[in-house]
């Protein structure tokens, strides 16, 4: 499994597709509905999935563990950990759940990349 993360609008998806020679049809785009298609190679916008989990009382990493085999997948997530503490309680809890989820994925991942202004840095 590979984790690619970075701030908003940094070009994470383009970076991952280019880096791992993948095409847009390999990508599942998460939205705030709790769905996850693990038949796709790339799970993009993981923060949307986590947001839904948080808002609906699930711990995202536990849901990921039971949804299926994550090996071989490329997870792409927005890093939301370095800004101000959100005023909104749901946003606050979401931010913390994102941290726990990315810690879990980064620990298991064979590769971790961080994207900065469209360019990547391999952290693991």
């Amino acid at each position: 499994m590979i984790l690619v993360f970075g701030g908003a609008y940094q070009g994470k998806l383009d970076y991952a597709l280019d880096k791992f020679s993948l095409t847009p049809d390999c990508v599942y785009c998460c939205s705030r509905n709790g769905e996850l298609d693990l038949n796709k190679d790339v799970i993009y916008g993981l923060e949307e999935f986590v947001y839904w989990c948080n808002a609906n009382g699930f711990e995202a990493r536990e849901v990921l563990q039971v949804r299926g085999d994550l090996s071989g997948k490329v997870f792409i997530a927005c890093d939301v950990s370095q800004g101000l503490v959100p005023m909104d309680a749901t946003d606050r809890a979401f931010r913390e759940m994102m941290g726990r989820t990315l810690l879990y994925l980064a620990k298991d991942a064979e590769e971790v990349h961080r994207v900065f202004c469209g360019l990547g840095q391999r952290l693991k």
Binding site: G7, A8, Y9, V80, Q82, C117
Partner: protein
């Protein structure tokens, strides 16, 4: 060489940019310019500008004040703060992309221009091309969990677009974190 530097607030970006620009100008034997994008609107801004001018004393910078329409500093008759004409072959420290976008998107006392991104990207690339030796400084403001209002979100999205454009075209890209530098290219 064109260089793009970004990172968090008060992480040492400007200091590193000053060093790079100064060394480059020295090596090439050309004038050294500080392109200041801040447009002062109150005493706090004016005090900050005076502090920045003092901090750059002795570095050999001439200051160009250009908060908007950045290519205007190359027009005939344009002068530095010190009263000299601007040599496009000099080395420029462009501080900052963040303030430029803010001035252009939210001009003081005028209507917002939320669609200025492409125009500014073109201007910045033209600036890089004309000078060939500019150190661009921007700010990394993309790891927030808060939900912003639409115009703030447009600002963030547009700054990221300008950052990616510059990072793609510049010869060197540096992230500064608490004085430490990571070279992306």
């Amino acid at each position: 060489m064109n260089i793009f530097i970004s990172g968090g607030c008060k992480n040492g970006k400007s200091y590193h940019a000053q060093e790079l620009a100064r060394d480059m100008a020295k090596e090439l034997g050309v004038p050294l310019y500080y392109l200041a994008t801040m447009i002062p609107v109150d005493d706090e801004d004016r005090a900050r500008i005076q502090r920045h001018l003092r901090e750059r004393e002795g570095w050999g910078f001439e200051t160009i004040e250009q908060g908007r329409s950045i290519l205007d500093c190359f027009k005939p008759g344009a002068l530095t703060y010190e009263g000299n004409p601007v040599d496009p072959n000099g080395v420029f420290l462009f501080d900052s992309v963040t303030a430029l976008l803010s001035n252009e998107m939210f001009p003081y006392g005028e209507d917002m221009d939320l669609d200025c991104g492409q125009r500014l990207a073109d201007d910045l690339l033209e600036f890089a091309k004309i000078t060939g030796n500019t150190v661009f400084v921007s700010d990394y403001i993309y790891s927030e969990a808060r939900t912003f209002d639409e115009s703030t979100e447009t600002y963030r999205k547009t700054l990221a677009f300008l950052d990616r454009t510059l990072a793609r075209e510049c010869d060197q890209v540096v992230e500064v974190t608490f004085g430490m530098k990571y070279l992306y290219k």
